[in-house]
Subunit: 137 residues, 2 copies
DNA sequence: GTGATTGCAAATCTTTTGCACTAAA
DNA sequence: TTTAGTGCAAAAGATTTGCAATCAC
């Protein structure tokens, strides 16, 4: 039985045609960062008939099932990341490009304790960069 | 001459009625985190006639002028922070509340070097927390 | 006066929703 | 069958824009 199908079953999601196809696009390559719009475009390009609404649903379901996570770096656009390991990000403000930084490379020492009654969910480190605009020769 | 007016002049913004009033709301108290919608509400409550569009413009102008900065923690909503010092944030996913963490309290060691040709703009550390939902006694 | 700024309403963009239709089990 | 999942188009939010009216200098 296809790996993707099992993977979906394990997290309680019916392996529908759309979910399987999107999962393949997402997880078959290496780690990826996509927006819903992008993934929808890829699906269409790959002749997978799926609506944008379903892409949104699917991304959120995958995220809820911990198959991926959401990265918020820009107002008004969400990125979904297929890497669920502990890690951080470079975000290029010029290009909108996201790049993983392995968790071990960033040492966040001495977290202040959270306000009373609150539990830490996750620590996001976003290194915002900008491309030098020296004209390329 | 009023301090706010000078402050706006120094960054090249005409001290219009709306800008001065918004600046007072923003900078007269301590450090603040507001959304455009919130600030607009406060302005109206304070009998300051200003449109939402102008609030957006003003927040972006203040941000461009380094009087404040934008904090992106949730898809679909921008917070503006009157604290321009080097610092980080707690973000409570239950309440949408932001709280500053002084920069010194978070030691981010050993930044990986950014991709070639890119310059670090800023490092954002967001500690996502969630309120325990133990019923309060 | 003159050019910057504002207000309004319409437009835009991303994301969500309602509901009839389709498909997995 | 039965219930979950999908597609479409409409709705919902947040934010931006175009342009005439208004204000600071």
């Amino acid at each position: 039985m296809p790996i993707v199908v099992e993977r979906l079953r394990r997290v309680g999601l019916r392996p529908t045609r759309q979910r399987v196809a999107l999962a393949r696009l997402l997880f078959d390559g290496g780690d990826r960062h996509v927006t819903a719009e992008q993934l929808h475009g890829e699906a269409l390009a790959a002749a997978i008939r799926v609506s944008l609404a379903t892409v949104y649903n699917t991304l959120h379901q995958f995220t809820a099932a911990s198959l991926m996570r959401e990265v918020v770096v820009e107002p008004g656009r969400s990125y979904f990341d297929t890497n669920t390991d502990d890690h951080h990000h470079f975000f290029c403000e010029s290009t909108g490009h996201l790049q993983d930084i392995p968790g071990e490379l960033v040492r966040v020492g001495e977290l202040p304790r959270p306000p009373a009654g609150a539990k830490i969910q996750r620590v996001d480190v976003i290194i915002r960069i900008r491309q030098d605009n020296r004209a390329p020769r």
